[in-house]
């Protein structure tokens, strides 16, 4: 039952294969998706900056409402006001990307801090961080967003702060769950899907992934002695 191409063999021994050869198909998909986003954003900024847009995204054409794709030079057609959809998409990527970046920065900064704290100082600190994680995980993200919209004025940056904060538990438990020894022992990558899923799935014991599985198996760390 050999499934993991990432298995690292003996303790402390590193794989001879290049990271690309040992990577999961899924990892490649993630990397590819990330690169696609970067490329799209770059294209958006470059085209936007040099005004190489096919049409003015704001230009309203009453004679071309809801035009189908490909008509009259509009590659993706026009919307209900006759504005060129391709141009609006290109410019729209910028509005899509920047707030998202804010959300990710918030989750990474807060999550890494909390996770590192919990990982290095177990005991009360870890309990506190676990409590915080469970607290944030108790909210459906969209309900929290609606709550914030109701409280403050609707704005993309308010929403992204909420998205960032709700992303903290995942990052924190990911960091906390990989104790330093794991790196020396040549264990599985701390970001592997095993650690990620189980740490999220445990409602209470979310920091120590897969604590006390039947058969005393600790996944995320028993992985390397499996053939």
């Amino acid at each position: 039952m050999k499934r993991y191409s990432q298995t690292t063999g003996e303790v402390g021994e590193s794989s001879d294969l290049s990271p690309w050869k040992t990577a999961d198909a899924l990892d490649l998909v993630y990397v590819g998706y990330g690169l696609l986003i970067v490329v799209l954003v770059l294209v958006s900024y470059v085209l936007g900056a040099f005004t190489w847009l096919p049409y003015d995204p704001e230009q309203i054409r009453v004679d071309l409402l809801n035009a189908p794709p490909g008509s009259a030079g509009h590659l993706l057609g026009t919307d209900f006001l006759g504005r060129d959809i391709l141009s609006r998409l290109i410019v729209g990527i910028q509005a899509y990307f920047l707030p998202g970046l804010l959300a990710i920065v918030i989750s990474l900064l807060l999550g890494t801090t909390l996770g590192a704290l919990a990982g290095y100082r177990s005991g009360e600190v870890e309990t506190l961080v676990t409590y915080f994680n469970n607290l944030v995980d108790s909210f459906p993200r969209l309900v929290l967003i609606l709550l914030v919209i109701a409280a403050f004025k609707p704005g993309i940056y308010y929403i992204m702060v909420v998205v960032g904060v709700t992303g903290v538990p995942a990052v924190a438990s990911l960091i906390a769950v990989s104790p330093p020894e794991e790196f020396h022992r040549g264990g599985p990558c701390p970001g592997s899907a095993v650690a990620r899923d189980s740490s999220q799935a445990h409602p209470v014991a979310s920091l120590h992934a897969a604590a006390g599985h039947p058969g005393d198996h600790r996944h995320g760390r028993g992985d390397f002695d499996r053939d």
Binding site: A150, A151, A201, P203, G212, P214
Partner: protein
């Protein structure tokens, strides 16, 4: 013997209930603080243009308890909450709890149905690929699950409405409104399928189940079972399917509830999500506070159930000391 079998569950139940209560108090505090920090107060929306007399406005504010200090406000709200009194809606003037209870059932119907759809899609793929290894068929199916999970639910919802209702007319559009109509259920199929496919959890369920199941299939006790000719399925079921399934469901409840908000909006489904949406636009604080509390309670309930199943399957897990599990 019987005592040993029941004790861990009660122990865990008590501990988890206490923890859930503590977390819900925390949730209520967060909800309160967010709304307390909001600029202005909700009653300005209500009073604007209705009562021009400044003194009368101040009097009404006094009566509604606005000028009190924050902790008095919080504690009185929490006290009411514990008695099942969620306050009255600013917009409709009706008790919030009754309003939510009126629509909660249809949201539950939608979310449970969509959860079932997710599992019906994900479990066969996961089982097939964990038992048979990666074949061309289940590679394709897994990739399909990933692609499908990446579709945003609002997009999928509108496309489904366009294709199935406008183009083909397979489903009725508005049957849910006439609740007594006997053709209610065909309409609810479409939202349930859209949420089940589009809530973005299909791929994660597949991945989690497959990883757990193939881990279990590699365990010694499965090899023993196989060697002595016992049913592998019966031995692998608890640890390989039941536990991961409850784990993943419990952790995805927030996502499914969040997706329900959008699906209810797209399909005009009279549920909690639409109510929350409406309340956010009206700045109807009591309603949205109540919905947030009830959603959090549902999430905690899911975790509780997961924990109970976990300990029921593996009573030893109840003895483990939290926080020291990976320190060994």
């Amino acid at each position: 013997m019987k005592l040993a079998a029941t004790k861990p569950i009660t122990l865990v139940l008590a501990r988890e209930l206490a923890l859930a209560a503590l977390l819900l108090v925390g949730v209520s505090f967060v909800v309160f603080v967010i709304l307390y920090l909001s600029p202005g107060d909700p009653f300005s929306v209500l009073l604007e243009g209705q009562i021009s007399n400044h003194a009368a406005r101040a009097g009404l504010r006094e009566a509604l308890g606005v000028p009190r200090t924050w902790y008095v406000q919080y504690l009185s709200w929490l006290g009411n909450l514990l008695q099942g009194n969620f306050g009255t809606s600013i917009r409709t003037g009706l008790p919030v709890f009754g309003e939510i209870a009126r629509v909660a059932l249809s949201t539950l119907y939608l979310t449970l149905g969509s959860m079932l759809v997710t599992l019906l899609i994900a479990v066969p793929i996961a089982l097939h690929s964990s038992v048979r290894g990666t074949t061309a068929l289940n590679w394709l199916l897994t990739m399909l699950a990933y692609v499908v999970s990446a579709l945003p639910v609002f997009w999928l919802g509108y496309v489904a409405v366009y294709v199935f209702i406008h183009q083909f007319g397979v489903f009725p559009l508005t049957a849910r409104i006439a609740a007594s109509s006997e053709r209610t259920w065909p309409f609810s199929l479409l939202p349930i399928f859209v949420l089940g496919i589009g809530n973005g959890t299909v791929s994660e369920v597949v991945r989690h189940l497959r990883e757990e199941m193939s881990r279990v299939m590699g365990e010694d006790y499965i090899r023993t079972a196989r060697a002595k000719g016992a049913s592998v399925w019966r031995h692998a079921f608890k640890e390989g399917l039941l536990i991961p399934m409850t784990e993943i469901i419990a952790s995805k409840i927030p996502f499914i509830l969040g997706g329900a908000v959008i699906v209810e909006q797209v399909f005009n489904w009279p549920g909690m999500g639409r109510m929350a949406w409406q309340a956010a636009q009206d700045r109807d604080f009591p309603v949205i506070m109540g919905i947030a509390m009830i959603a959090a309670t549902l999430v905690r309930l899911g975790s509780l159930l997961q924990r109970v199943v976990y300990v029921a399957v593996n009573p030893r897990a109840s003895n483990e000391r939290r926080g020291a599990a990976w320190a060994e």
